[in-house]
């Protein structure tokens, strides 16, 4: 993991922590303001705005946490790789994983499979039983609608070759010409 990447993750964690404190304070304040009138106090415009602001902050935190989890997953998958190509390939793969609604465990197992790790190796690296990895891998193949590892790789590579990832140097741009 590069230092820049680690810094980015650290700042994001700090931001989420500070905002969570603020959200807790605002929610506590809203509940206090409501006081004995309970939900009926929602007829008061000021309290309504306060409540909406607090919930907006909470959803912002939820969004940031999702993004942080994605960033952490990506970091875990790519480890020391920093090349643009591996990053772009990873993007394509993660888009597919999202489309297939893979769970975090399934994404991780699928990533190891794509990298060529055996079931035994994946189980060791993830600290889980081989049977678990097998079941997760089968779920991946089922969700992707493929028969096995070869077909999964084929599907992804096919997409990578078709997709306009980056303009090849020297290639004519069809739209401009």
């Amino acid at each position: 993991m590069t230092k820049a990447k680690r810094d980015r993750i650290s700042w994001l964690i700090a931001l989420i922590a500070v905002q969570s404190l603020c959200a807790a304070f605002f929610l506590w304040d809203v509940v206090n303001d409501m006081g004995p009138r309970g939900l009926r106090s929602l007829t008061n415009l000021h309290i309504v705005i306060e409540t909406l602001a607090a919930f907006a902050l909470v959803s912002g935190i939820a969004f940031e946490t999702r993004y942080l989890m994605r960033l952490l997953r990506r970091t875990a998958h790519l480890e020391e790789q920093v090349s643009i190509a591996s990053g772009a390939f990873h993007e394509v793969i993660m888009d597919h994983f999202d489309q297939w609604h893979l769970t975090p465990s399934e994404s991780d197992v699928a990533m190891f499979a794509i990298k060529g790790f055996s079931i035994a190796e994946t189980a060791r690296l993830r600290g889980s039983a081989q049977g678990t990895v097998k079941a997760q891998l089968n779920a991946v193949y089922r969700k992707a609608g493929v028969s096995g590892r070869g077909a999964l790789l084929g599907l992804l590579v096919d997409d990578l070759l078709n997709g306009p990832l980056a303009a090849r140097p020297g290639a004519a741009e069809p739209d401009v010409a």
């Binding site: 964690i13 952490l72 975090p104 465990s105 993830r126 600290g127």
Partner: protein
């Protein structure tokens, strides 16, 4: 299952006496009674002993073995994000953060509580409000601590509450040790 002796008797006695005394003062004992004061002195003594133990105790009790480390924290969060199972002998990096947060807030509660008994600070508003705010903060931390212990026990397959009672972490065979 492999067993690892982690928590020495002092750490365990410290943990559970702290639970008892804090719960007593926060939930049961009347704030203005002499019992509240003496329970507070008890907590202050426990914290002081724990800090000394953090320098002279066995490895897993020593602060040097669980100083906050951003790299390790990110690694643990990565494990959570990918559902990888890796277990830590001693405190996990995020767990260590909680230990320091709790020790600091409890030390602050003891200090402000003691100040309220002295002539110089008796009846001064910010001391009393600070004391109460710190108690609320500590209560939030404790709820988070318990939630995190349950979450991490389920995630890693190591029964953490049991380890704090028996002193031994029982780790599943297929888990990875850090």
């Amino acid at each position: 299952m492999t067993s690892h002796k982690i928590w020495d008797p002092f750490v365990r006695i410290f943990h559970w006496s702290l639970v008892g005394l804090f719960a007593a003062n926060a939930l049961i004992v009347d704030d203005d009674s002499w019992i509240h004061e003496w329970v507070g002195y008890g907590i202050a003594t426990l914290i002081a002993l724990r800090i000394v133990w953090g320098f002279v105790g066995p490895r897993s009790a020593r602060f040097a073995s669980f100083m906050p480390d951003m790299r390790a924290i990110i690694a643990q969060l990565g494990d959570i994000a990918t559902r990888r199972r890796r277990t830590h002998p001693g405190h996990s990096p995020l767990g260590a953060l909680m230990i320091f947060a709790l020790l600091l807030s409890l030390a602050g509660i003891c200090a402000s509580g003691y100040m309220m008994t002295t002539d110089a600070f008796r009846g001064i508003e910010w001391v009393e409000e600070g004391h109460e705010a710190l108690v609320t903060g500590a209560e939030i931390l404790i709820v988070l601590h318990v939630a995190a212990v349950i979450f991490e026990s389920r995630r890693t397959g190591v029964n953490l509450p049991r380890a704090m009672i028996t002193g031994t972490k029982r780790m599943p065979d297929d888990t990875n040790l850090v």
